[in-house]
Amino acid sequence: MVRLITHNLLACHVKGCTSNNFPLEFKDVQVELRDAEFNSDFLRGFIPKIEWKALVDAARQVGNTSLPLELPEMLDDDFLKSLHHVLLEIHVEEGSMTCPNCHHVYPISNGIPNMLLAEHEIG
């Protein structure tokens, strides 16, 4: 599934596209919300690895504006609940992701992102 936790890791890998190739930009998305089990220990451990601005922007692209622009210093329960929802409960089922640098389009179908490249596009 393309949840924002996955999106925060994905980068363009077309041959020669090595800078400004993250984050990919969501386009024409169909989103579904599904409950996931809340695990604050996971979130606290995971927060340092998040590219925060990319996550905030991606959340806005899929219609969620609950995250603050800066990662707060106090990780209270309200914040962790919002973060949990953004990372793990928003599912992009259909649509695409576009590279900000080379504009390659990675399609999303049936909840699965297609990161395959043609042989001549592989670096």
Partner: protein
Amino acid sequence: MAPSVTSAVVDDKPEIYEDNHVHDVYDQIASHFSSTRYKPWPIIANFLATIPTGWIGLDSGTGNGKYLPLPLERPGSIRTIGLDRSLPLLEIAKTAGGVIRDVVWGDILGYGWRTGAFDYAISIATIHHLATPERRQSAVQRLLEAVSLSHGRILIYVWAIEQDELSKRTVPSNSYSSQNGQDVLVPWVLDQPSKESHQPGRVLQRYYHMFAKGELPGLVIKCAEQMGLCIGASSDFSTGGYGVEIIQDGWERSNYYVELRRWQS
């Protein structure tokens, strides 16, 4: 009697050979493959059981996603993202263990991640499907690049020439002398032959490179050297820099495995 393993010759461009003898086969056998393989090997279960809470990992060649739910004692405490070439297998993997999983359709030789994005990576029974030593080495390099430079952990499993006595497979006997492993085709019986209709059974041949003893750590060392990494424990190097340590390597149930840790000092 099960059809036996035969020697293989990679007689095409490797990526085309893999399309015909690996990717197409998995797409066709996906549903059956899924129902027959579910038990995690102990080394893999232990590796994932010791991953700290909050870490994120990559399962490169996830297949039906059977490792995505691990560790079962701490569900949701770590998150493993499954990558595979087979869309039919990913359709199964995306709900592995009855919970929604994160899966990505891609090639293990691709590099669709920001550098060092993962804390850990596993690649189980996957790299042996690559048809040249160079491609197998690239696959190892992708794993080393995908994990954190300072603490990334990696576990790789591949098929061994040395097969378990309990395994149903017989390997062509000349293979035991090989230092470089052995290329084989392994039959998958899709339909049993039918006596009534006189239909022959349909058998698909999957390509494997069976690894020789020492070949897998050899590949890791070659790869680390080309990447300019120190090889060994960080305490063995006074100068500082980037390195990779082989934590363990060995043989388990017809497979060779190697566990690695990246470090920065």
